[in-house]
Structure formats: C-alpha cells, structure tokens
Symmetry: C2
Subunit: 352 residues, 2 copies
C-alpha cells in the first residue's frame, strides 16, 4: 500500500445535526494508475446534504461531501496514460468500480454489480477506508475515473456537469431526444436547468413544467420555448398529449400522473430524482397511451466524457453562484429553500 | 345508407345484473368497402364480462359482446379487394377508426385520436348506432378491419388470437424480445398463456410468475422453462435481477415492485392488464436499475395480421374450451374463478 502522507484540508460533517467544519485528513500517495489533483472548484449537490445529515442512514463520519470536482493534475502514477501534470481534470460521483462485471464492461460503472465506489462515503476497494469527497484541497483518483475538461469551458461552471449535467444528459441521449420532439423538464433546479440546456442543444422544443410563473424568464434564457404552469389547469390541458419526453427532477413526493398526461402516445417520463415514498401510477395512463415510466442514474465514465466533450463543442456550463468554503452551511440552508440559481460552486482556494 | 335487413340472432345483456339471453338484431347490408361474414367461432374475453355488467359505467344496452371473431366471408361490397366469398376471416377488438390521425396513419388504430370504433359497445361512424359484437351469427365489417386467417390454423383456437394473442404479441415485438433473453409472464390466464407461447416462439427463455405451483406442468407444456413462485421468497430471490422483460397480465390490484425486482439493469415490465386503482411504484427501483415500466394496448391492424401470419408459420393457436352459446353465463362464472384453460370459445353453430 502507498503511504498515507498527503495532508489535506477539508470541510467535514461530524454528526447529522452539526454544521460542517474545517477538518484535516491525510490522503494516500497515488498508486501507479492514480493521479493527484489540486481541486479548484467543487459543486454543491443536494445529495451532499442528504449524506452529511445521514438522511440515507448510511453515513460514516467524518463525512467530506462533494462529487462535482474540477481541478489541476499535480502528480501522476507511473502507469497513468491519459493525463499529465498541469492538465485540467474532473471527477464526478464515482472513483472506482469492479471493472469486471457486465455493467462495468458495458461502460455503466454507476450500475456496477459489485457496487461502485462513490467519491465520498464510499469504501476504497484497496484500503477499505472511507472515501472523502471534493470539499477538500486535493484528491487522489484512478485515472479511469478522471475526466478531461475541454479547455474552452469555464472551470467553475464545469464542476456541476459532473453530477447535475450527466444525470440529465444520459437519459436524453439514451432515449434519443432530438429535433422535432417536445421535451418537458419538471423542476427548474440544478438538474432541471441542465436538462433545459441539453434538450435545447439536442434540437428539441423544451418546456419547463413548474408550479411557479417566476421561472419564465430564466426558462427562456436557458433555452426553453416556454413554461407550463402545473398549477394552471388550462395550461396543463393545452399541453395534454403534446410532449414526447419528460425529465422529472423532483425528489419530493409528487403526482406524476399529471405530468404523464402531457405525454403523447408512446411517450416517456424519466425520473432522475429519487422520491423516498412510492409513486402512485395510473395503470390506464400507461396502457391506453402505451406510455413509459423510466428511471436514470447519473451516467458511466465514457458517457460523462462524451457529455463534457459535447459541452466543449456547444459551450455549455452550469449557471452557478460561487461561494467560499466557509459559506457551505449557509448554502445548504439556501438549497433547502430552492434559493440558488442554479448550483453553488465552492471556490476551493478559499480553503487554502 | 345501406338498408338494415340482415336478420341476426345474438346473445345479449339487457342489464348489468341479468344473464345474457337470445336476442334478435338487424345488421345493415354491407357498404361498398364492407363484407359480411358468418361467424364460426367467438372467443370469450374478460372484457366481455366487464362490458355486459356495466363495470366500466358506459354500457349501452342491449349489449352483444364478443371481439375474438373467426368466420367465413359470405358477401363482399363492390370496393372490397382483400377478401372474396368463402375466405376464412377474422375480426378483433375494432371495426373502424378515423383513418386520418397520426396513430391511424402509423398503423396504430387502437390509439386513434378520434377514438376507434370498438367491435361492441362502440358507435358506428356512419349510422351512429351501437355496435354489436361476435356473440352473433354474422357481422358486417369494413375490410380494413378484417384479418386473413392462415389456412393451417384451427379456426376455433384462432379466435382468441384476435385479443389475447395480439395483446401479448405486440409488446414482445415492440420491445424486441428474442433469443438470449429471459422473459417473465405474470399470470397464466388467457393473456398469459399466449404470452408464454409467443415469447418462447421468439426464442426467449420464459418463466411463468405465479402464486400457485399448480401451474407448473401447464407452463412447461406451453413452452416455459419454469415457474417462479411469487409466494416463495427464496425463488423470488433466486431470480432477483435475472429477467430482461416481464409481461404483467394481472388486472387486479397487485404489488408490481416485487416483479420489478426480478428485472435486470435496463429491464422493462409491461402492463397489459389495466388495474382499476393506481399502482404503487418504488422510485428507487426504477432509478437505481434504470428500469422501465410500460403499458401496451392490443395492437394495430397491420400488426394483428403480422401476428396471425406468424401463428400460421409456427402453428400457434390458443388453448381453448369449446362451449355452446347457451353456456355463456356459466362460462362467465367460471372465468371469474379463473377456471378455464385458457379461453372459452363459443361454437357459433350452436346459435343457428
């Protein structure tokens, strides 16, 4: 095993109900196929809050969240081929997987049958130690799980692409969204605003489905053709059976049948949030319009790279609000009130 | 309008709670694009009971059920091209549709945006009269909605293909079920037994998912590789994430999540029954295995003909119990107890 000697400042949760605080860890020196990167920016995902507060009942403390990481390579192991010192690189939700199961071989590491090693609150496959995420100065990761960042992209705006971006890109690609299609995006938050950008970039006519008319200007600016007010029966009726595809980003309990009615024959509504309670689905709506209700989970490494390359070509990044590391607890509270446009990104120099 | 002069014996329901009885109707002479056929056999579908008993709250009385019809062409209108007198022909769930909307043009008449004219309890698009189904001596139908029956097929066993057959064939084709795949069929009734036959004929490894071990011999005889006992936790666990595709034929309330757990990554469970109450779906199961939950409704005319041709090539018909017309009320009671292997078919000569 490599020595554990890389002193690293982080922000960590030490219990479910206490704010995150400065915390020092030691990371291992890179193995031959690993690289070390200084973290420049880290996005703040709602999952970070769930994990820090043990809302999934599996948090190992101390917990260092963060899985939307962009940084600069500062050291490479002997076997590293894809990266060199000085490269801008990115890390998303996973830092390892078994590499041998069918999903891994099929570039779907997020569905690794032996469970992917998540970037934080995961178990290192070699040392069995808890993994620490991107709310930290530096990280050591196997190059297979490190992405190239196109040079033209704003680094800070790139960070959220690693989770919010790929989560919406993947189902749009998998279900062949493109020109001539009408796409609905339920919820205009971190995920939703990326869904609008991607669906528009793929050539679809995009509608944000929202409970609030206040989203209209932003929706249009992000590339949507309009907003469908879900609280307005007339508007919902006007779009009855008009959409080909819907991405539902809502994690709270909600009535999915109202959205399903917006789908055309053979249409598909894809869930990318994960509501805790079961959803109630009207069988008639599925059968009589042969609709589909599907789910999607982030994306594999190959597709994540493809997404970043696509963003480079189309100059797509996330809309962000930059914060200092010591503002993280306040940022969490604002996220819980949906008061962010549309992703907080931590300037990691603030941790130096 | 053509004269209404074809005297026809039928069996009809006159109210929700009375048995079906002999009832005379007059059918119209064929229009130029219509043909008349003497009905040889008519299958008995669970829908017939729902409609006869007004369980969908839309029954027009008298109601003559029956939409699994095989007969012999006895008269053709001047414009009829596909059929001649003496041909064996079949009629399924629909006798007309608008022919102009997108689904109609896409050979999905069952999803006609202006509503298909169902074979019974429908509204004739010309006369606006109530349509009468196959529990009758003869019927007059537009040739577009009449199917050719391959000569080698048993006529009586062919009748249930027109509803139970196409309902299971269509999703298996649409979702590309074939060799190398494991398919589960939930419920071994009229629909389920056809699902087993088709999935096996398409080269898949088929499992019947049932609450009762009594189904095993039949399942194997019909072409299944085995039965998964849904009440046996060990068996359900053994097939955890092992199936590519499931057809769920159950119309009663049931826990679909237990079946969904049998699906592999990206697997699909397709509902062809239509439970009255909403189904409770675990979002995590969809998202973390990117599964699909879909629905399917009978099939279009083109696909129904394709299905019949496939049955001709593979010598597939339904397993039936033949009854006389005057046994229909008893047959209904047996269907409600699932006491039929696997479809009642009325010998329509018994109505002469």
């Amino acid at each position: 095993m490599t020595p554990k000697s890389i002193q690293t400042r982080t922000y960590a949760a030490h219990s479910p109900d206490q704010p995150l605080t400065l915390h020092e860890i030691q990371r291992h020196e890179p193995r031959p196929n690993q690289l070390k990167m200084e973290i420049d920016y880290c996005g703040v995902c709602h999952s970070d809050i769930h994990q820090a507060r043990n809302e999934w009942k599996n948090t190992v403390y101390p917990c260092v969240p963060g899985h939307e990481i962009v940084g600069t390579v500062t050291q490479v192991g002997d076997a590293v081929k894809k990266f060199k010192v000085g490269d801008t690189a990115a890390v998303g939700c996973m830092v390892d997987s078994c590499r041998t199961c069918a999903p891994c071989k099929d570039n779907l590491e997020q569905h690794c049958e032996n469970f992917p090693t998540f970037t934080y609150n995961g178990e290192d496959r070699v040392t069995k130690e808890n993994t620490y995420g991107g709310y930290s100065q530096r990280i050591v990761v196997d190059e297979h799980f490190v992405l190239n960042v196109p040079a033209n992209l704003d680094k800070a705006g790139t960070a959220p692409l690693l989770c919010a971006g790929i989560t919406t890109y993947s189902p749009l690609k998998r279900f062949h969204v493109g020109p001539g299609q009408r796409v609905g995006i339920v919820g205009l938050g971190g995920l939703g605003h990326m869904g609008v950008k991607f669906a528009a970039a793929f050539g679809a006519e995009v509608y944000v489905i929202s409970r609030s008319p206040s989203k209209t200007n932003d929706a249009l600016r992000l590339g949507a053709k309009g907003v469908i007010l879900s609280t307005d029966k007339e508007q919902m009726k006007q779009f009855d059976r008009k959409l080909d595809f819907i991405i539902d980003t809502v994690s709270a309990d909600h009535d999915i049948n109202a959205y399903m009615n917006l789908l055309k024959l053979s249409g598909n509504i894809c869930l990318v949030g994960a509501p805790e309670n079961p959803l109630s689905v009207e069988a008639f709506s599925l059968v009589f319009m042969r609709r589909n209700f599907s789910g999607s989970l982030i994306g594999g490494i190959k597709e994540t790279q493809e997404m970043l390359d696509f963003c480079g070509q189309h100059n797509i990044v996330s809309d962000i609000e930059m914060i200092r590391m010591d503002q993280i607890n306040e940022a969490y509270e604002r996220i819980l009130k949906s008061d962010v446009k549309y992703r907080f990104v931590i300037d990691m120099k603030s941790l130096a």
